[in-house]
């Protein structure tokens, strides 16, 4: 997948897209992306209680749903020929382009389309969703790493304080001791620091 997918043709811009995602941030990011690409008809849904009723009421051409959503199975019911289904829905699976389907599953998004809708017409929408989902995952990952780094920093500071108090070291010496021990034991400094804190609590 290269470049920014463009959805320029007026026929595509008129498609009604329903986004089902419990994550409000990702929902907003996907919404912004779809609108930037020229799709004016985007409906967002975070709540999945009574999902089928919502889908019938909204009557979308395309449905995007995150894979962490247990209600994905509810949509499978719409493939069945049944009186309650107004417009049969099919999963977007392009046999000729396995790569897109695979990228979508890996990114954590899945697409459903009204049966009969030409698959090429929604490919741009799906590719855009994949890019946005991956971008959110990267952001989440960075946020998690930043949080972990902050936690580790706090742990190391506490351990340094303990070593300074108990062994009468300066801050630099306390840090050097933690680092040296970590290297000798092939562990992370934060792990050694945690061990110091645990030991000191046990000895209280």
């Amino acid at each position: 997948m290269t470049g920014k997918p463009l959805i320029s043709a007026p026929a595509e811009a008129a498609l009604k897209v329903l986004v089902i995602d419990k994550d409000p941030i990702r929902r907003a990011i996907l919404d912004a992306g779809l609108r930037e690409a020229g799709l004016a008809n985007v409906v967002l849904l975070g709540e999945t209680t009574g999902l089928l009723q919502h889908v019938y009421r909204i009557d979308p051409d395309v449905i995007l749903i995150d894979l962490e959503n247990p209600s994905r199975d509810v949509l499978e019911q719409m493939f069945q020929v049944s009186r309650v289904v107004r417009r049969p829905i099919a999963m977007f699976v392009d046999q000729s382009d396995r790569e897109t389907t695979q990228s979508a599953i890996e990114a954590g998004v899945s697409a459903y389309i009204v049966d009969g809708l030409k698959k090429e017409r929604i490919k741009g929408i799906l590719e855009l969703s994949i890019l946005r989902f991956n971008a959110v995952a990267r952001l989440q990952d960075e946020l998690d790493r930043a949080k972990t780094a902050l936690e580790e920093r706090k742990t190391i500071d506490r351990a340094k304080g303990i070593l300074m108090q108990v062994k009468g070291l300066t801050e630099d010496q306390a840090y050097a001791l933690l680092r040296k021990t970590a290297m000798n034991e092939k562990r992370k400094i934060a792990e050694v620091a945690q061990a110091v804190i645990t030991a000191s609590e046990l000895l209280k």
């Binding site: 247990p70 499978e76 493939f79 599953i105």
Partner: protein, 394 residues
């Protein structure tokens, strides 16, 4: 967690948090996989659609799967056609039909006998449906977990035997199992058929009352299977055999009553089902609290793992699931589709790998299925079998 062997072959296996994944969980977490040189990475999934799609594209090597879904995927029903192979049956039975206290009372009032008898309760349901129609009330809504599931087929079989037309008289909706108990409380559904431990969860919450064990509708139903892609199985038969042996030993461990505390603890663990061990213990014991007043129903057929020849995939089971798909309009009846359906279940792969074999099974249904109503199932004459059921969509 034990069972991490160095140099072991790593397999990624998807599962849905249900008690019938017990053999898989025990194989991974109690060393049976490691003994076969396998390192099982169990991935918890939130929907059957996810499990199916990730297995199809190879993100998973194998999966804990609804038996009818393995057949549907192989036939290309509801989705692209990806032929799957079933070398091991993870569990027989294990479902229960649970209804709201209000529906239970209505059924009890309408019953012409003991509603613990499925024939009586099905007729009572038909009367309740007729009464609601007469007074212009909305049709009852009943939940199940997937279009291609025994939850769907058992509910339909039961109500149709009592004269209820599932697609006209009630509304059947798919609901994720963890939402079932809550949906009863909110009135979103009036009842449901689901795997363990979710019926017990509704009973514990006071929102539901267990009406029937699945085994009271169909005595012997292949519920969950271990499924792999057919091409994957063809390419590495030795790996399939090792997996079968690991699961065989794990299933035997689950079946041994002395191990039940440990099994319940392993299955209930946070990374597996994430529930209390006690609720799993009830499930493996087959002793379920069925109502808020503490009444209990017990059956050794409630959930069958590693017993009664459960491990061996039985093509009759695949044929029965296919017959239900035909009955309810999900698939046409053709000899080619039937052959493809039955070919998914591979007792030959099981037999060549397994160490022990269940001899002749005494006391099991003669047709291998044991429906509570109607004639025996005959896989050689599905058209004749379906002709015996006036309520159908095909």
């Amino acid at each position: 967690m034990t069972g991490r062997a160095t140099g072991a072959t790593r397999l990624t296996i998807g599962f849905i948090p249900l008690a019938d994944a017990a053999a898989l969980i025990v194989a991974a977490d109690r060393g049976f996989a490691a003994e076969e040189g396998l390192d099982l990475d169990l991935v918890r999934e939130v929907s059957w659609s996810n499990v199916r799609d990730k297995l199809n594209i190879g993100l998973l090597d194998a999966a804990h799967l609804l038996a009818p879904l393995a057949v549907a995927s192989s036939l290309g029903l509801g989705h692209i056609k990806v032929p799957l192979t079933v070398p091991f049956n993870l569990a027989l039975n294990g479902n229960a039909i649970t209804v709201s206290p209000a529906l239970w009372s209505a059924l009890a009032d309408a019953a012409d006998g003991d509603i613990a008898d499925a024939a009586v309760s099905a007729r009572a349901l038909a009367r309740v449906v007729a009464q609601r129609k007469a007074r212009g009330a909305l049709p009852l809504t009943l939940g199940m977990t997937f279009p291609f599931s025994h939850h769907n087929y058992q509910l339909r079989f039961w109500m149709a035997a009592g004269g209820v037309v599932p697609d006209d008289d009630v509304q059947l909706v798919v609901l994720p199992p963890p939402y079932m108990a809550e949906s009863l409380a909110s009135g979103h559904v009036d009842g449901f058929c689901v795997g363990a431990p979710w019926s017990s969860a509704a009973v514990d919450l006071g929102t539901g009352r267990i009406l029937h064990f699945g085994a009271e509708i169909v005595a012997r139903a292949a519920e969950k299977v271990l499924a792999v892609r057919q091409c994957w199985a063809d390419e590495q038969p030795q790996l399939v055999a090792r997996l079968v042996r690991a699961l065989e030993r794990a299933a035997a461990f689950v079946a041994e009553p002395a191990n039940r505390d440990e099994v319940a603890r392993l299955v209930a663990a946070p990374a597996r089902l994430g529930v209390t061990a006690e609720i799993i213990r009830r499930t493996v014991d087959g002793r379920l609290r069925v109502a808020g007043d503490g009444s209990v129903r017990a059956s050794d057929r409630y959930l069958v793992i590693g017993r009664l020849g459960a491990n061996r995939p039985d093509p009759v089971q695949a044929a029965w699931a296919y017959a239900q798909m035909v009955r309810w309009g999900q698939a046409p009846l053709t000899p080619a589709l039937q052959a493809a359906a039955t070919g998914v279940f591979r007792p030959d792969l099981y037999d060549s790998a397994a160490r022990s074999h269940a001899g002749i099974l005494v006391g099991e249904p003669a047709d291998g299925i044991g429906e509570f109503a109607g004639a025996a199932f005959d896989p050689r004459d599905i058209a004749g079998y379906l002709a015996g059921w006036p309520i159908r969509r095909s």
